[in-house]
């Protein structure tokens, strides 16, 4: 193993999360054996896929020391925009491209406002979250879209192409969304841990002042991560739209918390510099296990929220305790 890049992989946090997943899994299985069934596990991974895709994009934003609160709204807006123009008669392929482009453009706008105007990204994307949600409501008239039953209904050929993106089942009954997630995770892992781009993102987030002194391309890289983050949110929205066959303007609004939670539980710090793709994926998995398991053992939707919120705080609290010792030793 390469010693310069090693610490990205040999991470006590990830081992801890994996053991937590195993322990929780055992408890749930003891309560209800169907938790451990292949069918349930595949379903669980599928259901976390859109959250996972968004979390991958957000990981890059967070490691460079920025935030993006608008991704939930982008998810909903991209799907809604695609659906709306498709139903209006645009062919599905350009409609999909327009939806993805919308996500990229909103991400670019976030970057422009925070880099060129100098507004902190928290505020830019907080505003953008609401602006984009408003756009979704506006173009949809606050109504959901189901292309199959629209008036006139979507072209069946186009519909099957569209549904194939998110609904297909592959060999061993594996949902295609699982493959999307695994593929994206591999791409992002290479991007963050094996390219100059990722190496420098970590440097920039670790110390923006030093990054500027070393003349790393800080502004350009921030544009890339925000734009990419917007694109990933749009892709996630599109795939869920495809899987469900329908979308509504407020979809995605409830995703913001789990996406952030996945990245944070995965070991990223909001101040930047520290995040790993494996951590993010495992963090998303932990949240999915909790979500799914709590449903299966019948805790109820309301109590479930309490558990998931609490688990997020607990994971970070645990990290504080372990990293406090290290940072004390590290002061020179």
């Amino acid at each position: 193993m390469n010693s310069v890049l090693r610490n990205a992989v040999r991470n006590p946090r990830i081992l801890g999360l994996l053991s937590a997943i195993v322990v929780i899994g055992v408890i749930f299985s003891a309560n209800n054996p169907s938790f451990i069934s292949t069918r349930n596990i595949l379903g669980m991974v599928r259901s976390m896929s859109s959250m996972g895709l968004m979390a991958l994009g957000l990981t890059l934003v967070i490691i460079v020391g920025e935030l993006d609160l608008s991704i939930g709204s982008i998810y909903g807006f991209a799907a809604m925009l695609t659906g709306t123009i498709w139903v209006d008669g645009v062919h599905i392929v350009p409609a999909l491209l327009v939806g993805i482009a919308a996500g990229l453009v909103i991400g670019f706008l976030n970057a422009a406002l925070s880099n060129w105007v100098g507004i902190p990204s928290f505020i830019v994307t907080l505003g953008m979250m609401t602006v984009v949600y408003g756009l979704s409501l506006l173009i949809s008239g606050a109504e959901g879209i189901n292309p199959k039953y629209a008036d006139p209904p979507a072209d069946p050929g186009q519909l099957s192409v569209f549904r194939a993106l998110g609904e297909t089942r592959l060999g061993w009954n594996i949902p295609i969304q699982v493959i999307w997630l695994i593929g994206a995770a591999i791409v992002f892992w290479v991007l963050l841990h094996r390219t100059l781009f990722g190496f420098r993102l970590a440097a920039m987030g670790s110390n923006p002042v030093a990054a500027r002194a070393a003349r790393l391309p800080v502004t350009r890289y921030k544009f890339i991560v925000f734009t990419l983050g917007g694109g990933m949110a749009a892709l996630a929205g599109m795939l869920d739209f495809s899987f469900l066959g329908a979308t509504d303007p407020s979809s995605g609004q409830s995703l913001l918390f789990p996406v952030f939670a996945a990245v944070i539980v995965g070991g990223a710090t909001l101040t930047g510099g520290k995040a790993t793709i494996v951590g993010t994926v495992v963090g998303a998995l932990l949240l999915a296990v909790l979500n799914n398991g709590l449903s299966i053992i019948g805790v109820g939707a309301f109590a479930k929220e309490i558990f998931i919120g609490g688990a997020t705080i607990a994971a970070v609290a645990l990290d504080r305790f372990t990293s406090l010792k290290r940072s004390k030793a590290g002061q020179a």
């Binding site: 010693s3 190496f199 987030g205 110390n207 070393a214 020179a332």
Partner: protein
């Protein structure tokens, strides 16, 4: 005005309180980790005295201030005030401290600042300043600013407010500590501040001024002590209190005595005339931090820009790397300028390992190939090579950079900058907070770089560093280059100090934290 506000202070009160005022420090010792900041310091002060404190970095100046103000406790030794044992607590009312950067409340008015820290009467009552407080402001000549928000006032007003606050806070204030109070003030503002300090003395108080501006110490203080190696190294007063004497005392006993191993700069001296690595004309900062008619650096040369904080030297170094807004003409030989800030908090990436830190500035073609993919094995080889070449002592390349000692961190920082293979290295205070052994190694690394044809421009505040490192010293004062010295010609640090003092109007070095 509420009943809770302190009784109005009066001039008479001070004199009375100061009767027989006498502060004795005996054998004070204080260690921070392995660093003995104070090693048996003994000092006696009497009311009405204006004491100047000078000393090299890390000599114990700041620690002394902290002991007197109660911001720190001595490990051993006696402190007596008026013959009685005295243990000041932090925020001790008898010892107001005026800091370099006024530490007050910018969103309150000047007068309201005098009340901050006083409790109001009940929840709803906000204490308001009364006549007594305006009287204090009047005495300091800032009554007309009473209703201005402090944040809108100039620095001198803010600092006078800090004094006023000390006066208004109690009849008890007796010892006034000024820790580099005027480093950001203009000459007239400084004069105003010094006049007020003198007035405090005449009221029978003790005034202690810590400064790196030797001319001010000489002109204002009755007595100047040079703190050296944690004790009082020299005491100058009366006829012996001159800038030249002071400049000499400041550097005696430092590394200058050892005279950095004969080969200090010989190889540079032998190098014949070479080409300009960098040449600037009419080089001006947009906000006026510096105005330089001409400045040039030759290939193979190490030039030290010598100046205090605020002299413009730091900005000048940064401007070479294009980090400041400048007007003027710059000519650079084909190779690039790499810049390294003084503060390792601004040069290193805290979340990185030693290996990553060494490579952080490298780019495509070196550690990454097509598609920007990292060349993992090459990175490993480079990191190992730099670690060896730059004498970095680390358990492994995996070790977090923050775990290394200050000296090794600085070696990593310099290695990462030189790894870029720049033509010119522009850096600030190359060995700030670095142990003696690492210092020598860093000087060697920089000299080797210069011998290889590189040029080094270093902003320095430590004269011993200038003496060890540079062939040429360029003195920067008030944004202008006031002269240049051939360091190689000078026999010791003392003569360098005198020469620099002559060129810059009494400067020797800036103050720094005594422990690292």
């Amino acid at each position: 005005m509420t009943a809770t506000v302190a009784a109005p202070p009066s001039t008479k009160g001070f004199s009375a309180a100061a009767q027989g005022l006498r502060l004795e420090l005996r054998n004070l010792r204080k260690a921070y980790g392995h660093t003995q900041a104070l090693a048996g310091l003994t000092l006696t002060l009497i009311g009405g005295e204006f004491l100047g404190v000078a000393g090299p970095n890390g000599a114990g100046k700041s620690t002394l201030v902290r002991m007197i103000s109660g911001e720190g406790k001595p490990d051993s030794g006696e402190m007596k005030l008026g013959g009685e044992d005295w243990r000041p607590a932090s925020g001790e009312s008898r010892v107001p401290v005026v800091h370099q950067e006024a530490m007050l409340f910018p969103d309150l008015t000047v007068a309201e600042n005098l009340l901050a820290g006083r409790t109001g009467n009940g929840l709803a009552r906000r204490p308001s300043p009364g006549a007594a407080h305006y009287e204090v402001l009047d005495r300091l000549g800032i009554a007309r600013f009473g209703d201005h928000l402090l944040g809108d006032c100039s620095l001198v007003v803010r600092q006078l407010t800090e004094i006023a606050r000390a006066l208004a806070h109690g009849e008890q204030a007796q010892i006034f500590l000024f820790d580099e109070p005027n480093s950001a003030l203009t000459e007239e503002e400084s004069a105003e501040l010094f006049a007020q300090m003198r007035a405090l003395c005449e009221d029978g108080n003790i005034v202690i001024l810590v400064s790196h501006r030797l001319n001010e110490l000489v002109h204002s203080a009755d007595r100047v002590i040079v703190v050296r190696d944690g004790g009082v190294g020299a005491e100058l007063m009366g006829d012996s209190l001159t800038e030249e004497r002071l400049a000499r005392e400041m550097v005696v006993g430092k590394t200058g005595k050892v005279r950095g191993a004969g080969n200090r700069i010989s190889s540079q001296a032998e190098a014949g005339p070479s080409a300009f690595a960098l040449n600037m004309r009419d080089w001006r900062h947009r906000d006026g931090s510096f105005e330089v008619d001409e400045f040039g650096v030759f290939e193979g040369e190490i030039v030290a820009l010598v100046g205090v904080e605020g002299s413009g030297g730091r900005e000048l170094v940064r401007s070479l790397a294009g980090l400041e807004e400048v007007r003027g003409a710059k000519k650079i030989s084909d190779r690039s300028v790499t810049y390294l800030p003084a503060d390792r908090g601004e040069s290193l990436f805290s979340d990185f390992s030693v290996g990553q830190s060494l490579l952080a500035r490298l780019g495509r073609g070196v550690i990454a190939g097509r598609w920007g993919l990292l060349k993992v094995r090459k990175m490993e080889q480079f990191a190992a090579r730099y670690r060896e070449e730059f004498l970095v002592q680390a358990a492994s390349l995996d070790q977090p950079i923050g775990d290394l000692s200050g000296g090794n961190q600085q070696k990593v920082a310099i290695a990462s900058a030189l790894a870029e293979r720049p033509g010119i290295l522009a850096l600030e205070e190359p060995t700030r907070g670095v142990d003696v052994g690492s210092k020598a190694e860093i000087y060697r690394i920089l000299r080797e770089f210069a011998e290889g044809g590189g040029a080094v421009v270093a902003f320095c505040t430590e004269l011993s560093e200038v003496f060890e490192l540079a062939r040429r010293a360029v003195v920067v004062s008030h944004g202008r280059i006031t002269g240049a010295l051939d360091v190689a010609e000078l026999p010791d640090v003392g003569s360098l100090a005198e020469a620099v003092a002559g060129l810059s109007g009494g400067y020797v070095r800036e103050q720094e934290e005594p422990h690292e």
